[in-house]
């Protein structure tokens, strides 16, 4: 699945474009994809030395609450809290998308992974055929105790922010760029080595098995 991440400012903010977040604190849940998405959105707008971040919690609802309390000038949210934030009058000053990538150990059975890929691919086709039917999933899990999320209706969701594609092998270039970029921030050390990061044998076997299965392209 493709994750949508939005850089959000509160209703009273004087920030309208990401450039105006230079030297202003942005709350990020360090170590998670949304935090890196936030850094990339900021880096596209201001010099790196002007990026100022604060540690924020993982729960997006709690990050939104902290934003509304004025603990930072902006934060990065994912659905359904992007929708909640918009309904509360917050503005999105940037938006981006990134892959949710699965990580496994080296002993993963290709047959097992192929079955997983086939199940996911069928689900992607079903959801893409009628996204609105599935938005209630965004009210589960973390969101179950959040009255603002529970108050959302299916029509509140912007379906353009719910993006799914069938699983594909990890493009080496993209993996390398991500590694090099994270290393430039000091999060990773050393050079990218595709052989230690991606088990191409398991990946290839699993994708070939998944594609070769009868009915692999049906709903």
């Amino acid at each position: 699945m493709i994750v949508c991440a939005a850089l959000v400012v509160p209703p009273t903010s004087d920030v309208y474009v990401p450039q105006e977040l230079a030297h202003k604190p942005v709350g990020l849940d360090y170590g998670n994809g949304t935090a890196y998405a936030g850094l990339q959105m900021l880096e596209g707008a201001v010099p790196r030395e002007a990026i100022t971040t604060r540690a924020a919690v993982t729960h997006p609802g709690e990050r939104l609450a902290a934003l509304m309390r004025g603990e930072f000038a902006a934060t990065v949210l994912q659905e359904p809290w992007i929708t909640v934030a918009e309904k509360a009058g917050c503005r999105l000053v940037s938006i981006t998308f990134f892959h949710g990538t699965w990580v496994a150990g080296p002993d993963l059975d290709p047959q097992l992974y192929a079955a997983f890929l086939r199940g996911v691919a069928r689900a992607v086709r079903r959801i893409n055929a009628d996204k609105r039917r599935y938005v209630s999933y965004f009210k589960r899990g973390w969101a179950e105790g959040d009255p603002q999320v529970q108050a959302l209706t299916a029509d509140d969701f912007n379906l353009g922010r719910i993006v799914l594609r069938e699983p594909t092998p990890i493009p080496e270039d993209e993996a390398r760029w991500a590694w090099d970029w994270m290393a430039s921030w000091g999060v990773l050390r050393g050079d990218f080595d595709v052989a230690t990061q991606i088990n191409r044998k398991v990946e290839r076997e699993a994708h070939e098995l998944a594609a070769a299965t009868p009915g692999a392209h049906g709903l």
Partner: protein
């Protein structure tokens, strides 16, 4: 044939709507896969506010490290 079994770390709709739907609608079962989702215990949960940008604290991957899950979403 006995179904294959795999346990994954917990996921949310924003990053894994496809997995949740596939579980609920029996799409993994149809492929002979009994997919299970592990639960995190209190000891597995640390706040990201304990970390820094360059030395982050994340809960992802802990269950896999202990052999209690085969995959997690990074």
């Amino acid at each position: 044939m006995a179904p294959m079994t795999m346990t994954i770390e917990p996921v949310s709709a924003f990053s894994s709507l496809d997995v949740l739907v596939a579980m609920d609608e029996g799409l993994f079962a149809a492929e002979g896969l009994d997919l299970r989702m592990a639960s995190r215990e209190a000891r597995d949960i640390r706040s990201t506010t304990e970390g820094t940008l360059m030395s982050p604290v994340t809960n992802q991957g802990r269950l896999q490290e202990r052999g209690e899950a085969t995959m997690f979403q990074g």
